[in-house]
């Protein structure tokens, strides 16, 4: 059985919640007027509510919860718990505009690099591959020649990039490090005669009516 005070307090709470009907309101008013202690209690509650409603709203500082949690004394944890916390515990990421800007710049650089690599000319792609090179030795027997060079797809057909050295037996020779792949080439004798290697692995039309020798470099 509820006593009078409990009933009064329940009425006050319901009034504050806006749940009282007109009859109950009248009953509470009569009780307040008749009981000074009850009136004082009701005035106190109403005053507190007024203070809360009219006071300035304070914003919680950033990472308030994380800071509070951080300042709590650390509990002693086992190694297993530490590992579990390290892997699974929720984290609060702090950031500022400088960090965000740095991240954006980094992302832009990486993105640009990826796009450029995809659209880059063949040469750039080839340079980015860390491929092993194989030293290929090329020979030409030309005892009467004064100079022999070799030009091909490996040196963009530069006639003076790879000059062969003459041996005592009349064989001209040069060793060139090449990446694995297929290369077309021709010898240039005395700076003017383009000679197809007669002992090449295979041959390919050069598009101008002659045959280039083809070598396939494998690792």
């Amino acid at each position: 059985m509820k006593d009078r005070k409990e009933i009064d307090r329940e009425l006050i709470h319901r009034m504050l919640d806006g749940d009282l009907g007109p009859d109950e309101k009248k009953m509470l008013l009569d009780r307040v007027l008749a009981d000074p202690a009850l009136k004082e209690e009701l005035d106190g509650i109403m005053g507190a509510l007024h203070t809360i409603e009219t006071s300035e709203r304070m914003q919680a500082p950033p990472f308030f919860t994380a800071e509070v949690m951080r300042r709590l004394p650390a509990r002693k944890a086992t190694i297993a718990n530490r590992i579990r916390d390290f892997l699974l515990k929720g984290r609060v990421l702090r950031w500022n505009m400088a960090t965000a800007f740095a991240a954006a710049v980094l992302f832009a650089l990486v993105f640009t690099q990826v796009v450029r690599t995809r659209n880059a000319p063949v040469k750039t792609v080839a340079l980015s591959r860390q491929e092993q090179t194989v030293t290929v030795t090329m020979n030409l027997h030309a005892p009467e020649a004064h100079q022999v060079a070799v030009a091909g797809t490996f040196n963009k057909w530069k006639a003076d990039a790879h000059i062969l050295t003459k041996q005592e037996n009349g064989v001209w020779t040069v060793s060139i490090p090449l990446k694995p792949g297929e290369y077309s080439y021709m010898f240039i004798v005395d700076g003017k005669a383009w000679v197809t290697d007669p002992n090449a692995e295979t041959y390919r039309d050069d598009g101008f009516g002659n045959k280039n020798a083809v070598m396939r470099v494998r690792t």
Partner: protein, 305 residues
């Protein structure tokens, strides 16, 4: 206090990591840019020092700028210009070479073969009109080859490396130069797909077809030979060995008919071309090693080891 110090060190480490990553990312770009501008600067100096008229110089430099903007490697642009001027090629032809490559690049075509033909033609002293004709026709073949390779790929033939598609487009374009019909190339793609082969195998098969057609076989014979080989499950290495076999047979003064019948009879017996190559080569050897070079007279001597 201790916690704040740890956090500070952690932040410094993060900052160092971010800075290092940014520098590492930017450095290759800077080096590539530097190398590219060096080549272009060299070409620009060559043009400025040439005896060309002011208009001709401006024309070449404009085409060079357009080629750079299209993504043509600066080194190739520089080679075309300097080699062209060294050979006394008229400015309109040099402009034309650059324009052909730029236009092809703009169409999304691989330009390595066009640039190679141009640079090679200039180095060999081929007439500029001939170089122009060859590269323009090649550009057309590349444009026709691209949808064929796309169809082969969409049919399920997979590229095994980034450049495989471009390689295949260039190979198909060269096949077209040898009048190999487009439907024969597509049929090759279907056969490779049926054998679950890669774009590399397709590329090698079409390349071998082109080599055969360029060595005296009719296009029909070359197509039939290669299709049979694909049906027999020949690998890329087998196709390379077929080419070597043909070259070796020619060195023995055998006719093309002998070569064809020799290849056919071995394929019918189910022998791999590499086995055949091992038997026929004097001294044998590993087929994937470069062959040893021989020696001979001035006209046709030489070799490689």
């Amino acid at each position: 206090m201790k916690r704040n110090v740890t956090e500070g060190i952690f932040n410094i480490l993060i900052a160092l990591l971010v800075t290092t990553a940014a520098i590492l990312t930017a450095a290759p770009l800077a080096r590539a840019e530097e190398a590219g501008s060096k080549h272009l600067e060299q070409a620009r100096i060559t043009v400025e020092r040439s005896s060309l008229s002011k208009e001709a110089k401006a024309g070449i430099l404009t085409k060079a700028d357009q080629a750079v903007a299209a993504g043509i490697p600066a080194e190739d642009i520089s080679i075309v210009i300097t080699r062209g001027l060294d050979q006394g090629v008229e400015s309109r032809h040099i402009e034309g070479f650059l324009e052909t490559a730029t236009r092809a690049k703009g169409q999304g075509l691989p330009v390595r073969l066009i640039l190679d033909r141009t640079e090679q033609g200039l180095a060999k002293g081929v007439a500029p009109e001939k170089i122009s004709g060859v590269t323009q026709r090649l550009s057309g073949h590349l444009a026709a080859a691209k949808p064929i390779v796309n169809r082969v790929e969409s049919g399920g033939v997979k590229a095994t490396h980034a450049k495989a598609s471009d390689d295949a487009i260039e190979t198909v374009a060269r096949a077209m130069e040898k009048s190999i019909p487009q439907d024969a190339v597509l049929r090759t793609g279907e056969k490779v797909q049926e054998r679950k082969g890669s774009l590399g195998l397709f590329n090698r098969a079409v390349d071998t077809m082109t080599t055969f057609a360029g060595s005296g076989m009719t296009a029909g014979q070359a197509v039939k030979m290669v299709h049979t080989a694909v049906d027999k499950g020949y690998s890329e290495g087998d196709f390379e060995a077929m080419e070597r076999y043909m070259v070796n047979e020619f060195r023995k003064n055998r006719s093309m008919n002998d070569v064809i019948s020799g290849m056919n009879s071995r394929m019918e017996r189910g022998e791999g071309m590499r086995d055949m190559q091992m038997q026929d080569r004097p001294g044998g050897g590993t087929m994937h090693e470069p062959a040893s070079g021989g020696m001979g007279g001035m006209s046709g001597m030489g070799g490689r080891k």
